[in-house]
Structures are given as C-alpha cells and as structure tokens.
Subunit: 330 residues, 2 copies
C-alpha cells in the first residue's frame, strides 16, 4: 500500500517510525504501508486508488492529480462523506466533472459505519462498496476484506454517497438531544425521522430507497449518532450547551462535515420540493441563531401525520411483495 | 383513565398513594388515573382499551376478557411486543383468533421507541399506531398525543407488530457485542444486518418493507440496542460474560421477550425459506450452548455478498422512483 499526502510531515513520520504523526498517532502501521512522496508514482503503480480527502477538498485534489489519474486504468474509490457546498454535488459527480465522463465506469464509492479509531483496533465492522462496473466492485471488495471487515457490494452509488454525507447532519442533531438531556427514545425517534428525510432527498435525486436501509444509510447513521468521538455529534452537543457554532468549531479544532452538508442538502431540497424539517432546524441553529430547545419544541409540535405520507415516495409505497388477503396484513 | 390489573396489589397501591407499587415505583400518577377492580366495568366504559400484557399472556387475558370485550365497540389497542411461541402468531392475530374475525376492524397495534422509564419522565418521544380503520387510528392518535409524545399513523399492522417483536432478538445480540468489548461500528453493522433479516421475514409474512424503516422497526431497534436498561440487552451482555441463559434470566428477575421470540421467528423463517443468520446464532447461544465469541466469528466469516441479494425481496428492489439516466444514478 503506497500512501501519498499533501502534508510531507505525514509521509516523513511514517518513513521514520511507522506511525502517522498527525492522526491516530498511537497506531502502528504494518510494514506493507509505504510512504510515497511522488503522487504521480503512487498513482501509476496502483490497481486501486483510494481518495480519502475532506469533501470540500475533493475537487482541488482531483485537479492536482488529473494527469496521472487519466494516465491509468486503476479503479478510483471515493471514501469521502459529504456534498460539495458550492454545487450540491456528490463526490463521484465531483470526480467525474473534473476527470471527464470516461472515468465513470472506474468509480467506486465506499461508505459505512467505520469510525477510524475502532477500525485501527481491528474491531469487527462492515462497509459497502458501490459502483457501476461489477468486476471493479468485486475487486475492491476482495482487496479490502479481512477477518475484521466484511465488505458488502452494491450498485447504488447515489444512495451510498447520500447516506454517508447526509447522516452527518442528523449526527449534529443527535449531539443536541443528548446535550439537552433527552433519552434514548428521543434520539431513536430523531434518527428514524432523520433517515426518512435523507431517504426522501435521495430518492428525489436518483437514489434507491433500499440503499438507505443499508450500511451507508442506517448503519453509518447509528454509529455516528452513538459515538461521542464523532465530530458532528460534538458540535451539536456544544450547541445544546448554549455555545455558538463558532465557539463549537474552535473547541473541535477539526472540520465537521455536517454543517456545510446541511447547506448543500437544503439547497438540493428546495430545488426538488423535498421537506427536510430536521435538516432545516439544524441549519437554523448553526447559521440563523435559533436555540436548540426552541428547535426541539418546534419539531415536536408539527401536525400529526402518517409515517410515510402519500405524497412522498416512501419505501413503504413500493413494496407490495408478499401482500396477502389476510385480515390485518398490510 | 381506568386501570385494571390481574394483581390486586397494583390497584390497591394506586388507590392508596397514586403510585404503582411494583413497576416504576417512583413515578407519581396523575389524579386522572383510577384503579378499577372490575375488569368488566373497566371495559364497558371505555372508548379505547389498551392491552399491555406480556406476549405469552395475551391469549389468556383475551379469553378472560372475551365476554366484556365482545360486548363493546371500543377500539382495542395492543401494546405488546412479541410473537406467541406456540403458534408464531402476532398479537393482533392472537386477539382475533380468540375474539373472532369480527373484531379485526377494531384492532390497533401500538409500537415504537418507548422505553417506559423515559416516557414516565416526559422526555420527548414518538410512536406509531397501525390499524385497518382510519377513523379508529385517528382517534387513537388523538387520544395518546401530547407535547412529549408524537404519535404517527400507519396502515402497516403486520410490519409494526413484527418490528416491535423481532427487534428484541437483535437487542440480545447487541448486548453480546457490547459485552465482548466491540465498538460502535460493530453494533451499527449488527443492527443494520439485523433489520435486514427482520424485514425479510416480515415481507414473507405480509408486511411492507417501508414499515421497518419507521419508528416500530428502525426506531425501536435503535432505542432497545442502545439502552442498558433494556432487558434483552442485559441478557445478551450476561451471555457474553460467559453466563448461561438460565443464570442470565435469574439475574434479570423479569421476562425478556427476545429469547422466546427467537424461537417463534426461526420457526416462521424455516416455514417460509427466509435466511436469518443473526437470529439463528442468538438462538444457538441461548438454547444450543454455542459461545458468543464463536457466533461472532461465524457471522463475520460468511461469504461476501451484495447488501440486498437478488433472491430476497429487499426494499431496494422495488423502489424505482426517481431513476434517472444519469451516469452513476442507481
């Protein structure tokens, strides 16, 4: 495994002591991980290239790597979870817009409940790889699988990317309900209704409903909302304690993807007429000065309704398999 | 609100001090809650009757109350979460089999992430009521709603009942992964794949896939697997520490619904050819002496596969709405 990084300190640190000096600094890297100072060399020799950069940096990195990336036929795996704020685009759309439509067959999206600290300790986990070319999906699946990691395959690129990106908005809200002292019922309801609005937006933009019940939707949502090491959860928690978004960000010292993604999601939602009440409240708290308590009260006092309204393309509407004439069958 | 209980101590305790002397003993009940020693009187005067008994006791209670229940036109709301082990039947099926098909229009199933301790403290929560008669659903929704409880409506009786019952099996497994020291990635993956097999079984028995993405499926699963006060989680946790099912049950001192439900679910699964790998392992640990660690290893080493296999009626297969010709749309 060759590793390139824009920050030479990372490469020098790995070369010197088999550890990353900036992130997960206590994890010993296997001897098969080799730092590579030339991005072009790194790309030229690879069969599979993992792009693991913050969502807002994806376009810049692809522009930087355009020539070597177009010089190979390697599979390009995006592991970034976010939407580009300026365009609302998913990561595979950003990559294709820089490199050209001819790379679309080579693209694979990776997402799932994969908190890095736990992965580095080889705790059992699962993830999903989605793409358009079955042989590239299978090769990625085989390359990344190991006893502690089960890799599932999917054809649902849009859903896998939306799931990984949009769950960060709900994680901010989960940090808020925990910060307000609400319980497991509250957070479970929030996550359920959160996944419902994620699914609505995804369906309106080309995703399949079922993908959101998978590891990149439900699975990643559960892990991120449960973990107090999640950056997005921590931002929400600080907001519930009366801090401003600026103060919360400063305390965190890192970029949380949820806040910018809430902007991109609301923009997409408005354009497609999709209702996203939780995302709208999270955005209002982050950027419009609403208090977390007022937002919670507003969400609880909406008119009573059906779980899946007849207007929305909820997954319940489409699954008619197994319908029986039995009295109380659905 | 009139309350009847088979145990007169409960009724006497409420009459004496507005508290239940056996469960949630520190919660002060409002003055509108009146103990009622005559079950027949209690039933005769009610518009809505909530049946809140353990799943394996539902048939006996309905037999006991058969005459007064058939003497009214009240709505019958089942709040029990389990399958009858002897028959594999859902609660509404048990009630209808005792009272007759003519009550089917009067039945409503209630389920959701509603941990009792939190509800009694008025922490914000949501739940779902499902039935066949829209006016009875709406009346139940209106009667139970309050600022701290959002009640959603659904037509998916089978799915709401399966969700509430089957999630307890996965909660046993969640207690095991926590007991084995695994992390949030592991538990999130378990819950995701657990909901997938719950959904498969439900679809094979008349439920809609989308119902399982709602409060009674996903929502209740998340709350029960997250809460260390869940009985089922505690059974699994004790098993992971090397205790037998008998020892775990004795420590608990109450009935956990997950273990008997795993029996009923496997029976239904075999009859309908549905694969339930997690349920099978939970059953093997509870009743066949398998160790939790061996079960975890076996689950992680299954052949690699698609998230939703082409053989199963996964929700992803049916949702074609929003399909676009775009490059990487699903």
């Amino acid at each position: 495994v060759d590793v390139w990084d824009g920050d030479a300190r990372v490469l020098d640190g790995i070369a010197a002591g088999a550890k990353n000096p900036l992130y997960l600094t206590d994890v010993e890297l296997p001897s098969s991980v080799a730092p590579c100072h030339s991005m072009a060399d790194c790309i030229a020799e690879a069969d599979i290239i993992l792009l693991t950069v913050p969502a807002q940096a994806m376009r810049g990195v692809c522009l930087l790597a355009k020539e070597p990336l177009l010089g190979t036929s390697a599979t390009l795996v995006s592991a970034s979870k976010g939407l580009e704020v300026a365009t609302g685009a998913r990561m595979s759309q950003v990559i294709a817009s820089v490199l050209g439509e001819e790379v679309i067959g080579r693209l694979v999206a990776l997402s799932g409940p994969n908190l890095a600290g736990e992965m580095s300790k080889l705790m059992p986990a699962a993830t999903v790889v989605a793409g358009n070319d079955p042989s590239r999906i299978a090769a990625t699946q085989a390359a990344l699988s190991m006893p502690a990691l089960r890799v599932y395959a999917s054809q649902g690129v849009a859903g896998v990317e939306f799931g990984g990106a949009l769950k960060n908005i709900i994680a901010v809200a989960a940090g808020m309900t925990d910060g307000l002292g609400y319980g497991d019922n509250t957070k479970a309801s929030l996550m359920t209704r959160g996944l419902a609005e994620i699914t609505r937006l995804g369906i309106a933009h080309g995703a399949q409903a079922g993908t959101f019940m998978g590891l990149s939707g439900l699975g990643d949502l559960v892990a991120t909302c449960s973990s107090r090491s999640s950056r997005n959860w921590r931002v929400g928690n600080a907001l519930a304690q009366g801090k401003t978004f600026e103060q919360a960000s400063e305390e965190l010292g890192m970029v949380a993807e949820g806040p910018p993604t809430s902007k991109a999601a609301l923009h997409l939602a408005k354009g497609s007429g999709v209702e996203m009440p939780i995302t709208a409240r999270v955005h209002a708290i982050l950027y419009e000065g609403e208090s977390a308590e007022d937002a919670a009260r507003a969400l609880m006092s909406r008119p009573l309704k059906n779980e899946w309204s007849s207007e929305e393309a909820g997954p319940g509407k489409q699954a008619q398999a197994g319908r029986t004439p039995e009295c109380n069958a659905e």
